[in-house]
Structures are given as C-alpha cells and as structure tokens.
Symmetry: C2
Subunit: 490 residues, 2 copies
C-alpha cells in the first residue's frame, strides 16, 4: 500500500507522512477507508510508533484524515476532485489558462529580456558594454562604507516602509542635487523615488496610455521604451533623430499624442544634443495638445564638449514635463534607484501607482544614496568620473581613427559614456559573424539594432568605452579591427 | 534690461548667465537683437569680462544666442513659442493633460496610499501595528554583518544587472528553503524575485486581467489586492470567508474567472486556515475553468497551534497556482524582496513583465538574502521568532481576556503575528474617536475596515502583537480598555 521512500534530507517521520499523503492523494488509500493502527503500521514499516503518530497527527491537522474516538483513523470522504494520479509530475499548465492582452503579447514575444540587450555576464576581457559605466574604486569604497553604516543603524532601529514617494532624506538630497547639477528646481515632494528609470518609464506610461493611444518616440530610441510601449498597447509614432536630436518640427505636425518620450540632453543612442529652438518648439506643441513630455535625462552629467545643457524641465512653465533620472548610470547598474520629478497635480496619482506596483523601493539603498549625496560623494564622483571618461574617450577615438579610419562612422561622442559606431561596409545580417569573431578575440560587442523600429541596413554598434582602461581600449579596438578584417568586410 | 540677482549658492558667472537667459526667454531681450559687447556688459554690471564671456559661451552652447564673426552676439530668431512670461511660477498643469483610464481612476482615488493602511511613522509606545513584525536583535545583527560583507565585495567587483528572474544564488537558496519549510517543490528557474509580494500581485494581475475580467477575492482581504484590482479594472467577485477560510463552495458556483486570490495558510485578515477539502475543491474548479490561483503565503511560517499546513502549490498538479511569498513579513518591512513561483509555461512572460516593470530588484539585498538563507540564518530566525511570538501571543490573549473579556471577539490567533479584534458594542463610525482616545494614551491602533468591500458595522481592529514585549502588551491592552471605557461604548 505505502511506498516509503527515505529522504536523507528529511527526518524519518516526515518521510512517513509524505508517503501516506501521496497514497491518499493518489487514491491508493481510498477515501473513507480506515488506516492501520499506528502500532501496526510502525511494525510494518520498521519505524517507531512515535514516527507514525507524528504522521497521523499532521495528516489530521491538514484535513486528510480524521480520528474517530474509540474507532481509529479514517481517510476523509470529502476530498472533492482530488489530485489525478497521472500528470503529477507535470507543471506545464493545461493551455486553457487565459492571459490578459498584455500577458498574451508577452507570451508571444521573443526570448526573455528581449529589448534589453544582451546583458548576460561573460568573462570577456575587452567589453564594450554600454550598461557598465566605469567603476571608480574610491566611489565604491565610500559606497560600501556608507552601506555598512546604514545597515548597522538599521539593525539598531529597523525602519518600516518609507512614506509614499520615497525616503524624505533622499528626496531632499535629490532636490538639492538636481538644482545644483541640472538647473532643475522642484520641491522634494514632487520627487517620486523609483526602482531605476525603467520603473519611472513604466509608471508614466501606465498613468498616461490606454491601448491605442498615440505616443511619440525617437527613432532610434532606448529599447526599454519599446517593451513598455508594447506592454501598454500604445500606438507608437517614431520621429527620426538627426544631429540635433528628435526632429521636433515633424512631431509638431501631429494632431496630438498622449506622451512624447525624449532624451534631449544626450539622445539615446545617437548622442545628439537638442538645441534650444527645438526644445521650445516641442514644449509649445505639447502644451497645445495636453501632451506629456517624458524627459529621460539618463546621463546628462557626463558631457565632454561644452557645458551640460539645462534640461527641458527647467524650460517648462506649465507642468507638461515629467523628468526621469537614475543613479544606475552614474554609479553602477546593480543600484536600482531612479527618480521621477512629477508635476504637482500628478504627484498623488503617481505615488498611488508606485504603491500598487511595489509599495516601496529598498529603504537601505535609498538611505545610503541620501547619505552619499548629502556627504558630497556623488558630485565628487561625477567630477572624477568625468575626467577619467574624457581620457578614455580620447583614447577610444584615437584608437578608432588609427585602426578603422573611414571604415566606421562615429556619432554621439560629445557626451555620455558610449558611442554609436556605424560600419557602412558590413551588412546588418553579418552582426552575428562579427560578434563571434570578436568573442574569439576576447572582445564583447553589442548591436544597436534593438534601438530601432526599422534597424539600419549595416551593422551599428552601441559601444560603451567608460569601463575600460586606456590600454585595453587601444587593444580592444585593434582586435575589433582584426575581427572585421577576418570577415573580409567593413 | 537685465535683472541680475546674485545668489550666494551660485558662482557669479552662473548668476549672469541665468539673468540673461531669463531675459531672453521672457522676451525682455527681443529675438534677433544684438547683445551688448562682453566688455560693455561687464562694465555695466560691474563684473569681470570673463564672467560675461562664460555666460555668452554657455548661452551659445545651449542655442539661445549665436556669434557672428566680426559682428557680435545675437539672440537667435527661432525661439518658436518661447516661454510665456506669465505663469512661469506655476507648475500645476493646464488641465488639458489626458490620463489613461488607470491614471484617471488613480487621480480620482482618495488620499495617497489609500488601501495601504496608515503606515506613517509615529512615536507611540504601544503600537499594535501589523506591518512591524518583531525584530530579533540577533537576526538584525547577522543581517547587518552580511550586508557589510556583500557591500565590500560589490565594491571590489560590482555586479551589473542580474539575469531575468533574479539572482541565481538567491533563487537556488529559495528553492531549498521553500522545499524544507513549506513542502513546495520547484526548479529555481521557476522563481521570479520580486520587489516584495506587492509587486508579485501587480505583475500577476497585469499578466492575467484585462478591464472587465472577473477575479475572485476573499472578503475580507488584504487591501493591497483592492488597489491592484481597481488599477487593472477587474470585475471583482468577493467570496466571504468563514472559520475555514474562503468558502470555496461558493466560488465553485461561478462560471469562470481569470484568477482567484487566496491566503489559504492563514487567511488575511481573519486568520482562518483552509482545510484540505476546500483546497482541493478550489483547485478542481480552477482547473476546470482555466482559472489561475494566486496563493499568497505571506506568513505561513508562523503557526502556533498544530504544524504548518502545506501550501496549495504542492497540491497543484497542473500548474494552476502562482505562489507568492515575501521576506518582509519574516524579517522587516523595509526589506523589499518577495518571490513568485510560476508555472513553467508562464515563466518567460513573467520575467519579461518584471523586466518592463523595473528591470531588476536590488542586487545587494538579493545577494544578502541568499547568504542569509544558505547560512541557515533565516530558519534560525524563524524558529527563534516563532517561540518569541508564541510567548507574546499568550500574553496578548491573557491581557485581552482579563481587560476586555466578552467586550471583544477574537479571530485569527492560531497563526501569524496579528489578531482580528471585533468590538461588537462600538459602531464603526466611532473608530476615529477610539483611535484618538488610544493615541492620547500612547496606543496605536489600526482599523480592519480597509480589508472589506463592505466594512462591518462595528469597529474591527487589525492588531499586530509581535513587535511588543509582554509587559507592553499587557499595559497596551489595559490602555486600550481605558480608551474604550472613556467612550462609554464597547
């Protein structure tokens, strides 16, 4: 009757219980039938009577069996349905499950993380990865110290949830930082702390966009927008980017849109900077149509030529702009903290949606970032990093000029920590070959194709240079050239 | 022409720049007009020429002015629209902004955090708060140590993003823990790490529910469901709870539903435990209709009478159940880590939605929790906490019996860290009076009304007892009785 399988990781009484439970569920012991006495079963199985009593007890507590005084222990009658004996190993679902329209879109979608680039960790020496900004040891040491300090103080008086919108300390510190570094004035209460800028994007689009609503997006654009827009069922209008960013004149010909998503300080991925005239035109158009402008200022801090340009938000008199920023880009990707600066009349709804989405961002990291900013570490870090990135950028450009010359076209190097590398001589469908050839040489490359609604016909690389020391940049670019040579293309 | 306002927090050249910029934007300097020479303006303002050159330079970089060689510096012509002089101080929006149907629902909704209880921090001595579980010093010390260690190692080799679904170390550790503690068997790859269980709920409902779709929810229920269900526009059917949890027989009369949300191990907030027969009935019904069962096992670890009952997930042969758990309840609320155990065929879509929602949960805390589980700390903590809570529970029950006797009805004390306290003699609309009377005595109380679609006619309290030492429980309950006496009710 019983298949008792001993499990070295479980106590014996647990194994007996499990065996009985399985037998009941699979109807090898019929509903309503009487179990052997604990004494008899113990003798049968060669275990102590206590072991069996434990199992009976537990089965009774869970409603599998009931004890009738003076009569014994019976399997209950009422196990409606039960669990079919067949298929107990399958967890694949029966296909009758109905998903939401979003769920169905996601289920039909490509591989996990589609639209988020190939971020899997590899042990390549020369990684031209965008996500991994350079890591300043002094910054990281300071960060670790502050984490340790906050962790110890949390262990003395652990906090509950933060108020809606995030830690007051952090919002205060951010308001000061944004005013100093980005010329953005807002009250701390207008800031909602998010789980990286990705959550900022998702919350904004959920607040604004119903299926079928029009949203204007740059072409090319950050791939994180694409997946969010597909998720909310937006009808997307792509407005092409030129050397001065999104062509706002084209957007202004549209009747209206719920939202327009832009990266004016440093267009992603082309690196273009939008001039004032276009900024004002875009705001003017948005104002006329009640369109919300999502300004994604993901790396406005790192500008190598000229001074940082002030953000759209500070030109906005009417509360049309939601400003999104993130610490991941400035510090390290694993730090999941971003911020949205929200017009006063949207703050409540935004906070409510944040509470629905995940209630709160990690308190520990919010408080550490508050310490980091108010202790001056963030600005020291940005100054240091800006200098270092400038040196790396120069080394990168020099190596590209030396090794590849006119075989590549460069864009977006006046700011940020990456460049867009166009290889006109190499058709787009040869990217996989190039990646393989690079990988064999220890070089990690990343296609920019995911940033396009209509990918270009030649290979385009999104090349982050900030995490490699100068020597490695030179060697890496040489190896990239060798890989390109080996394909006989470019 | 220029209103130069010196700002003690900004360098002088910045102030000159700002003054010029404002003048241009507000058309006090007309488009197309020529600026004075830098030398002349410097003399006018009494500043150095370099200060003015800086300002002109920056204005040129941002596109406000252009320099014509041999002629001078001109305000550009093309500032389309410009920024209206009036209203520059207003950030209130023009009311023409159109939100999504979700956004509009949230904007109409009550105060921030509605449906999430009153979690604002107060300095009351006797807090009968549900969210704050007891904090074991030994646990918190261990946690702080592990945080410090991981922070130092992150500072040596900072991580990028985790793979879709979360840290492999954490998912491995969780799979082991769930098997040992909850009898739940799954592959680590079926686990998606979430930002607390709130994100698990939101992701599940987004994946499953379109506006108008039917969802079955317990009555009463965790308020976090209410706000998520309103957000996704679900048509909600409330199924009443009795002493054996959700009345699954009633649910089974429904034609179908997209999802059913249950807390079978410890119904929230009544504390009822669902017996096996109802569990099987519910699963059977769900299987017939392709309904997904969201099993929220928020505090299955803390059971004081009998042994923990195995979860619905381990009875599920067909992948109908999504299991949600959280570390916030076991450890402390500020820790925002939860997990969803997802049927194999939904894993990809779930991971994709998590990536859209926020890309990743904090790496630091994921890795610390992995260390905490694999080092045996979590289970040591749960054992210790269970013992301590049992003592506190006994003290709480004793005090209630002594002070309030039959003036209150108790539910939900066989498990968890809270009780539902019904005060039949006090009409629901007197809760605010009772709260005030309690607050004057240093006692924090919380209404359970938010857990109901149709709140009860008398006052019901959601009373967490786990964070107060025995003595404080006794005094707190006495003061609660005094507060009740002072109202002349109950």
């Amino acid at each position: 009757m019983l298949q008792l399988v001993l499990d070295p990781h479980r106590p014996l009484n647990r194994s007996v219980y499990t065996a009985l439970r399985e037998a009941i569920l699979e109807r090898r012991i019929a509903p309503g039938s009487k179990l052997p006495s604990s004494r008899a079963l113990a003798a049968d199985l060669g275990v102590s009577r206590n072991t069996v009593l434990y199992a009976y007890d537990q089965l009774a507590a869970e409603g599998y069996v009931e004890t009738r005084v003076g009569s014994g222990t019976y399997v209950v009658d009422s196990l409606a349905g039960g669990v079919p004996a067949s298929g107990r190993d399958s967890r694949r679902g029966d296909g009758r499950r109905k998903l939401s329209s979003l769920g169905a879109r996601l289920a039909r979608d490509g591989s996990p993380g589609r639209g988020f680039g190939d971020q899997r960790r590899e042990a390549l020496r020369y990684e031209f990865r965008f996500a991994g900004a350079g890591h300043e040891q002094e910054t990281l040491n300071a960060w670790a110290r502050l984490v340790g300090r906050r962790a110890r103080s949390l262990s003395r008086a652990p906090t509950g949830y933060q108020p809606p919108g995030g830690s007051p300390e952090l919002r205060e510190a951010l308001a000061g930082y944004l005013a100093r570094a980005r010329g953005l004035t807002c009250r701390p209460e207008q800031i909602v702390v998010t789980q990286g800028s990705q959550q900022g994007i998702d919350l904004c689009l959920r607040l604004l966009v119903d299926p079928g609503d029009r949203v204007v997006v740059e072409e090319p654009h950050y791939a994180g927008y694409g997946s969010c827009l597909r998720a909310c069922g937006a009808s997307v209008v792509h407005v092409p980017v030129d050397a001065a960013g999104m062509q706002a004149e084209l957007a202004a010909e549209l009747e209206a849109a719920k939202a327009v998503c832009v990266t004016p300080s440093h267009q992603f991925p082309t690196g273009a900077v939008m001039p004032l005239s276009r900024r004002l035109l875009l705001l003017d158009w948005a104002r006329q149509h009640g369109t919300v402008v999502l300004e994604d200022d993901y790396d406005g801090e790192f500008r190598h030529e000229g001074r940082p340009i002030e953000c759209l938000h500070s030109l906005d008199a009417e509360g049309q702009v939601i400003y999104l920023g993130t610490a991941s880009r400035m510090l390290f990707p694993a730090l999941r903290i971003g911020w949205a600066v929200v017009p006063e009349d949207l703050v409540d709804a935004f906070q409510r949606l944040k509470a629905i989405a995940d209630r709160d961002t990690s308190s520990l990291e919010q408080l550490v970032l508050a310490d980091f900013i108010s202790g001056g570490w963030l600005e020291r870090h940005v100054r240091r990093a800006r200098k270092r990135y400038a040196v790396r950028r120069a080394a990168f450009l020099e190596a590209l000029g030396r090794e590849l010359g006119t075989r590549v076209e460069l864009a977006g190097v006046s700011a940020g920590t990456h460049a867009l590398l166009r290889i006109p001589g190499l058709p787009a469908d040869r990217f996989a070959d190039l990646r393989r050839a690079c990988r064999r040489r220890g070089v990690g490359i990343y296609s920019a194709a995911q940033c396009y609604a209509r990918p270009p016909e030649c290979v385009e690389l999104l090349a982050g240079y900030a995490s490699l020391p100068e020597r490695d940049l030179a060697v890496g670019v040489r190896k990239l050239r060798e890989a390109l040579d080996s394909l006989g293309g470019g």
